[in-house]
């Protein structure tokens, strides 16, 4: 087995495992982080398959823009529940913020 083929097989197995973890994770923020890691592994895959321009594009977009969009959405919502919690100061209400939220399936 040449080095190229061995690398591809190893990379493929790791990508499948990370994808399963990303889809089944309990916390939402860890799901997003695993998606970013999957995108980085895809960049390595594109380089191994002789597509350097695609690799650069996916590196910028997958690890930069998409992760930023997800985190921006989750953080913005978290601030909203934090503001709601501050305004209710006589009742003991505990709202579960979506960043740490339980697994909803």
């Amino acid at each position: 087995m040449s080095l190229q083929l061995g690398l591809q097989i190893a990379l493929g197995v790791i990508m499948v495992v990370i994808a399963i973890i990303a889809v089944e994770a309990k916390k939402i923020i860890s799901s997003v982080i695993y998606l970013s890691l999957l995108s980085l592994l895809a960049v390595v895959g594109f380089v191994l398959m002789s597509a350097p321009d695609v690799a650069v594009t996916e590196a910028v977009i997958g690890s930069g823009i998409v992760t930023f969009l997800f985190v921006f959405t989750l953080i913005g919502v978290n601030k909203q529940t934090a503001i709601k919690e501050d305004s209710i100061n006589d009742l003991d209400v505990h709202t579960i913020s979506p960043l740490e939220g339980g697994d909803i399936k």
């Binding site: 996916e58 823009i65 913005g76």
Partner: protein, 109 residues
């Protein structure tokens, strides 16, 4: 790597069917699109092919990888970013309207 692409697409569809949390559904759609891109590039790659870019040293080479699927993937990646952005905007609006990210609770209201 063809098989890896197809398996990733199947994982993405599985995640889309079983999850009820909106953000995880969007993550599953991204996994689906990454799987599709890997499959498309794998279609254009043969054994011992090099990157389809002409430089001074490989101006007489003959084993270039197929550049057409790479152009397709560039377009598909950017379209994926656009749809992810609009899905996240709608998800945020839904949270403001219903107070939860869970689809079953939203349909109940």
């Amino acid at each position: 790597m063809h098989i890896v692409g197809i398996v990733l697409m199947l994982i993405g569809v599985y995640g889309l069917i079983t999850n009820r949390h909106i953000i995880k559904m969007i993550v599953s759609i991204n996994v689906l699109e990454i799987g599709l891109n890997i499959f498309i590039i794998a279609v254009g790659y043969g054994e011992n092919t090099i990157a389809p870019i002409l430089t001074k040293s490989n101006i007489n080479a003959t084993n270039f990888a197929d550049p057409l699927p790479q152009a397709l993937v560039l377009t598909a990646i950017v379209i994926g970013v656009g749809t992810t952005a609009i899905l996240l905007a709608v998800a945020r609006k839904l949270y403001q309207q219903y107070g939860t990210y869970d689809l079953t609770e939203m349909e109940g209201k």
